[in-house]
């Protein structure tokens, strides 16, 4: 079962890859002098993200198989939390992104020159992602409080809240690191290209995926609140579970939409070749949806025996 999920997840991952960097920057109408640098950034970031996601999913699958086999004494055929798998994949891709951004430039042997112009650690902060992060933290806090009040899976809810706080701190650290990363003295046009790459790395490279993962974790937290512990039939919990389910699905939907938009690194494709690029994008979406439907059918077939 887990192996099937991993295979379909890999298929969905490949199908959901955005357009190649070189095509994307032309379709997005970036200035020609920015393109080589942005293409290198996109290709490098994608390579690291993909490697991180694959590694994380494979490790999680192997661990699930091992744990299930140990508990069941045989092959793993029990239900698998797909949201947890998606969160693991996204977490791996974020770690890949962080690894891609924490490189160091080689130190030159001769004289070194630096500008005395001050760079702001928040220079490339993404205000949209910042607002979303604050909202999600609020929701996660509310979920934590609700779980304590209802005495419903409090440890799980609070651990999600802890993970959310850690993710948002990781976001702050990574943003400052990208902004203050060493920069040689460059001509003005290359400095502008470097600014654009740092902006992309900060927002679509890290901030937005982290916010997406936070939303996914929030969705899991609220889903657990909606279900509640086994046998809990209190009136208070019944009244709350409907609201919790709605919040959970809304968060899951938001995470899916943000993840989908992030594939193209937030670049608006309106330049040359944008139409064919969108057509290819829809085809890839259809392939990803097909993979998801196939997965659902397989799950149903296996459950029916």
């Amino acid at each position: 079962m887990v192996i099937v999920i991993v295979l379909v997840a890999l298929l969905a991952l490949v199908a959901s890859q955005g357009a190649p960097g070189a095509v994307l920057v032309v379709a997005a109408g970036l200035p020609p002098e920015h393109r080589p640098l942005v293409v290198r950034f996109i290709d490098r970031s994608r390579r690291f993200r993909r490697a991180g996601a694959l590694a994380a999913v494979l490790v999680a699958a192997a661990m699930t198989v091992a744990v299930s086999a140990e508990r069941g004494g045989g092959t793993a055929t029990g239900p698998v939390d797909l949201r947890a798998f998606a969160a693991v994949g996204l977490g791996g891709s974020i770690l890949g992104s962080v690894a891609a951004e924490t490189f160091r430039l080689r130190r030159p042997r001769g004289p070194r020159i630096a500008s005395l112009a001050v760079r702001d650690p928040d220079a490339y902060a993404d205000p949209v992602a910042g607002r979303r992060a604050r909202g999600l933290l609020g929701l996660s806090l509310a979920g934590g409080v609700a779980s304590v009040v209802l005495a419903s899976l409090a440890w799980r809810s609070l651990s999600v809240l802890g993970a959310t706080v850690i993710l948002l701190l990781l976001r702050r650290w990574a943003l400052a690191r990208i902004a203050l990363r060493g920069r040689p003295v460059l001509p003005a046009h290359l400095e502008a290209a470097d600014d654009r790459v740092r902006e992309l790395a900060s927002s679509v490279g890290l901030s937005r995926p982290i916010v997406t993962l936070t939303a996914l974790l929030g969705s899991m937290q609220w889903a657990a609140l909606a279900t509640g512990p086994d046998g809990d039939q209190s009136t208070l919990h019944e009244a709350f579970s409907g609201v919790a389910a709605v919040v959970s699905w809304a968060l899951f939907g938001a995470a899916a939409v943000w993840w989908w938009h992030n594939r193209s690194f937030g670049l608006r494709t309106s330049g040359a070749g944008a139409r064919s690029l969108r057509r290819v994008g829809w085809l890839r979406l259809a392939a990803a949806l097909g993979a998801a439907v196939l997965l659902a059918l397989l799950v149903m077939a296996i459950r029916r025996g």
Binding site: P108, R109, R112, I113, A114, L116, A117, V118, R119, L180
Partner: protein, 127 residues
């Protein structure tokens, strides 16, 4: 405004940073109140250890060239002629700086006349 260091020179890198910043301040090329880059930024731009830049900043702060205002950053102090309580202290500091210049000139194989000419040019630049 650019800062240039060369780790292959005999003069320690922190001293190169300190002397250039002191010169930029004394000549007015950098206005008083100008915010300087953080230690972390300058160290990563120059490919140096943070401690090296920190040492230069600490020396500059001790000399009253810069003001460190905690999380707000490091700012260039108002340009002022330093006064010491004892004229002998001033002379001793000047002799130490002259010694450093003489050692540097010898290590670079620069003749006495050229070293003195370099000092004159530096004094003229300061006005």
């Amino acid at each position: 405004m650019l800062l240039r260091v060369d780790p292959s020179l005999p003069l320690p890198v922190y001293e190169q940073i300190r002397s250039q910043m002191a010169r930029l301040s004394a000549s007015g090329e950098l206005a008083a109140g100008t915010r300087l880059p953080t230690i972390r930024q300058l160290a990563s731009d120059l490919g140096l250890a943070k401690g090296t830049v920190e040492r230069a900043y600490l020396l500059l702060e001790a000399e009253g060239v810069v003001n460190c205002r905690g999380r707000s950053g490091t700012f260039l102090a108002a340009r002022s002629v330093r006064t010491a309580s004892e004229p002998a202290d001033l002379r001793r500091e000047l002799d130490e700086a002259a010694d450093a210049l003489a050692v540097m000139a010898r290590q670079l194989g620069i003749g006495d006349d050229d070293a003195v000419a370099a000092l004159r040019r530096a004094l003229i630049r300061l006005g």
